[in-house]
Symmetry: C2
Subunit: 208 residues, 2 copies
């Protein structure tokens, strides 16, 4: 059997949140997909703007009832099937763009991502349902590093690591912020894309 016929039984979900098809975020997205494909990782890939995802959580989704939006249900099922979760988005106000915030609001819900079984007391943390998964985050920014870290406090680190991944048991294996994008040369951007490839390839190699 030739080496490239050894199929890895691994799955990834990749999410992109940027409106401009020629953006660096899109270039990162395609490099991620290419690296996953070369690594023979089955991949669910979602350009949220392009798919017309509606980020508004509904009244029906406030509690524990299943969403009635087929796209939300599809994303939730893919989430459960995936070993590796990769998010690509710009740093807007120290947070993801609204379309990805809405993905978090609507998809990271009970009973898929976490749950509150009846034996828990009020105020208890939920049961984590995604603790077999690894998360990676690629961010882009126009804020210089010193101002990001000293004034804003790099809120995206806490948002992804603690608030989202940590809440559901996902282990954040990698996060980086490419900056500053405005005014960056073609050469610098190529270097960033190579970093993306190396990070994803490294993660694939770590997969059991």
């Amino acid at each position: 059997m030739r080496e490239n016929e050894i199929m890895k039984d691994k799955t990834a979900s990749v999410y992109l949140a940027h409106p401009y098809m020629q953006s660096l975020n899109h270039a990162i997205y395609y490099r991620v997909l290419e690296t996953l494909n070369r690594g023979k990782v089955e991949t669910f890939s979602h350009d949220l703007y392009n798919e017309g995802f509606n980020p508004l959580l509904t009244v029906g989704e406030l509690g524990f009832d299943e969403s009635k939006d087929p796209l939300v249900l599809q994303y939730a099922e893919e989430l459960l099937e995936s070993d590796l979760l990769i998010f690509i988005h710009p740093n807007w106000w120290g947070q993801p763009p609204a379309i990805l915030k809405g993905w978090i609001d609507r998809v990271i819900r009970p009973p898929y991502a976490y749950d509150y079984p009846p034996e828990l007391s009020p105020g208890d943390p939920p049961v984590q349902k995604l603790s077999d998964k690894v998360g990676m985050v690629f961010n882009t920014s126009n804020t210089p590093g010193p101002r990001e870290n000293s004034y804003f406090g790099d809120p995206l680190e806490n948002t992804w690591k603690q608030c989202i991944f940590g809440f559901c048991g996902i282990q954040m294996s990698y996060r980086t912020m490419f900056r500053t994008v405005a005014g960056s040369s073609q050469e610098i951007r190529e270097g960033w894309l190579d970093e993306v490839e190396a990070a994803v390839a490294g993660e694939i190699n770590k997969m059991p």
Copy 2:
């Protein structure tokens, strides 16, 4: 002249982000509006879900061009006219719901909220355009205080105070988080609404 004929020449904008019309967030919203009305503050009030606001920043809004969405332009003009900005929203993942995140993405833009005049160097902080304004934030949460503060680090405080208000020069005069909402009694909720009223009335009294 009777005292209640002395009209204050002050203006407020109030934003609500919650899908459920019977929510505590709605009750806070109406109490805020009532208090502003009693204090004779001219008020722009916006229930973002009810107005069908589209939170998705467009390609055309990525740079410095004016938005083509009349609702965005209206919100931006009202922002400039307002002395007091009040935001009411639940704590979802340590952040506002996507609809309000999108309001931030689309409305807090140049040249209204901040600007980069040509004399600035790349990486310089922008010129703040909202430094004559005061901001207030009312949040609701189902996370107990100790877990919010020790595990999540109360990210909403940094988001509003530093990342949004601080970026544009708005002074955050008040922020509170009512919790935990789930399981709270009618009596406790009435107490929270009285706190809302006192906070807004106090702010009106401080107005020059």
